[in-house]
């Protein structure tokens, strides 16, 4: 699939009274047509700036931004406005016009695009029907719940049939149940309408629920990216591991490790469980071959994108050399394992 969005070595810094702040640093990224890309990071990681570079609400200090065939960094403001009409955006605080009804909010981008009546009313009705709020057409935003407001936001963002939808912390102000509804709606937007979506969030649960790919941002850079399953199964950076740990509780936290060590004097090793069958049997055989005693002390196996995912922590007892040999043999067969070394600053 071709890339709908491409960022090439993009940096963005701001002059503030306290000095220059770099929000995005030398960042390159491609978003394929039709995918849902999740961008996760803590506040201040540069996610919001990143998403605003994609619809040119922010101009990069250096680097180039492409959306479709347009190089945004080379277009004048007037052309950028036309490009923005092709990109939908939804916000954490919904940002609905309080002076307009639900229908008036959805009609606004259509008016901008010059869509005339009665076509405009028909489109508004169709969009509100799609998000399940047709009966609220004449209500004002303050009469709606948070989830309803965001659904209006989504209808408004989709009004001009954009190819790309940007969701900036779109579920962060919602309760868990409403979050699930809104995420399911975004997934429908992607699957049924073929809209490419970039989801900016600090909640790994949102990524887990809908993203195809995830990019982990830290200090203005993408420190890790890949298919969601791969990053969840084998996070290679501390930042990614921390986010994964917020939704998968199959790896012991620092507190848990302290408790485990008190109860289990042997060496603690955590294994990522692969999808293939017979994994624990493989481990048992390797331990038996080297005369290593073993006991599962922590872990779990769950499901992600309809694939198994999990980790198991073993206590291994026996001669150090024997344990090392067993672990080396497993590593050689491609087993992903981490020894929970004491004093290691394990972050939850």
């Amino acid at each position: 699939m071709s890339a709908l969005v491409r960022l090439e070595a993009v940096s963005k810094s701001y002059a503030t009274p306290a000095g220059t702040v770099t929000a995005v640093q030398d960042l390159s990224l491609e978003v394929a047509q039709g995918e849902i890309l999740g961008v996760i990071g803590y506040s201040g990681a540069g996610k919001s700036t990143l998403v605003r570079l994609v619809n040119a609400l922010e101009k990069p200090t250096s680097g180039r931004v492409f959306v479709g065939d347009d190089e945004l960094t080379a277009l004048p403001e007037k052309r950028l406005r036309e490009v923005r009409r092709e990109i939908g955006m939804i916000f954490q605080q919904f940002n609905l016009f309080r002076s307009r009804t639900v229908a008036g909010n959805v009609a606004f981008p259509l008016k901008l695009a010059g869509v005339k009546q009665p076509e405009r009313d028909a489109r508004v009705a169709r969009l509100l029907d799609f998000v399940g709020l047709l009966e609220k057409a004449h209500a004002y935003p303050e009469q709606l719940s948070g989830g309803q407001k965001q659904r209006v936001g989504i209808a408004r963002a989709l009004a001009t049939d954009p190819k790309l939808l940007l969701a900036d912390e779109a579920t962060s102000a919602l309760d868990p149940e409403t979050t699930a509804d809104v995420l399911a709606l975004l997934k429908r937007v992607n699957r049924e309408l073929g809209v490419t979506i970039i989801v900016i969030t600090h909640e790994m649960e949102a990524i887990r629920a809908i993203a195809d790919r995830v990019a982990v941002m830290d200090s203005g850079r993408i420190v890790e990216s890949g298919p969601v399953y791969d990053v969840f199964a084998h996070p290679s950076t501390t930042a990614a591991a921390r986010f994964v740990a917020t939704v998968l509780h199959d790896r012991p936290s620092a507190d848990t490790l302290t408790r485990l060590r008190a109860a289990h004097p042997g060496r603690l090793v955590t294994f990522a469980v692969p999808e293939q069958k017979g994994f624990t049997g493989q481990l048992s055989r390797a331990f038996a071959d080297h005369g290593v005693e073993n006991e599962i002390v922590f872990g779990g196996i769950g499901e992600l994108q309809e694939r198994s995912i999990g980790a198991l922590t073993y206590e291994l007892t026996g001669a150090d050399a024997a344990i090392d040999a067993a672990l080396d043999a497993l590593r050689a067969r491609g087993v992903d394992l981490v020894e929970e070394v004491e004093l290691e600053e394990q972050t939850a």
Partner: protein, 219 residues
């Protein structure tokens, strides 16, 4: 009281003059002040039409003119009033002076109310590809209409006050009536009738303004 009955036609035309001065200057300064206020808001750093030079110039002009006591402003602007209206006395001259003077106060009221508009909705409109002028006309002002209406109501009360001061330069209205028929003749009945009338006008203005603001805010 007999003096009052004798001057009843003067009293009635004074009411009319006061209403005319307040309402006509409300319209003129409302529009002029809205334009200056929107410019002040939009040219601020980080806003839609960010322009440091324009903002500084407008800001300084507003800051210089606004604090001038109105009685002095009336006199200071007389050459301009004569050029535009042809005279510096009378209701039209007073209305002109009031409208100009009030515009700068309105500009601040408008600016301060617009600052309270959620920047998120402005950003949403920008993200939809709306240009700055479009955003000002179709997002910013409608979103700020509730507080703006309250601001304009507050302004109306101020304009009644200014119209009374304009009586000093022969502007007519209830202010002049209270002075020439009232205090200068030691007729306190007439002074208090003028005062009571002004209170009623102010109350009515406040009432109408509150109603309109409530409608805009839908509360």
């Amino acid at each position: 009281m007999n003096d009052f009955i004798g001057s009843i036609d003067v009293y009635l035309s004074a009411i009319w003059q006061t209403l005319f001065m307040a309402l006509a200057s409300l319209v003129v300064s409302g529009i002029l002040g809205l334009a200056i206020g929107v410019l002040l808001y939009a040219t601020r750093p980080g806003h839609l039409l960010e322009n440091r030079v324009a903002y500084t110039v407008i800001n300084v002009v507003v800051n210089i003119i606004r604090p001038i006591p109105f009685v002095i402003f009336l006199i200071a602007i007389e050459p301009l009033t004569i050029r535009v209206i042809g005279t510096y006395i009378g209701v039209y001259a007073a209305t002109f002076a009031i409208a100009i003077g009030a515009s700068f106060a309105v500009a601040r009221i408008v600016e301060q109310n617009l600052v309270g508009v959620d920047p998120g909705v402005i950003e949403a409109a920008r993200a939809m590809g709306a240009g700055p002028l479009r955003i000002i006309a179709t997002v910013l002002i409608p979103e700020g209409l509730g507080p703006l209406t309250l601001g304009y109501t507050f302004l109306f009360v101020g304009l009644i006050d200014m119209s009374a001061q304009a009586g000093v330069i022969g502007g007519g209205g209830l202010g002049e009536y209270a002075i020439t028929w009232g205090s200068q003749r030691y007729n306190w009945t007439i002074v208090y009738i003028a005062v009571a009338t002004i209170i009623v006008i102010v109350q009515l203005g406040q009432f109408v303004g509150n109603r309109l603001a409530r409608r805009a805010l839908r509360r």
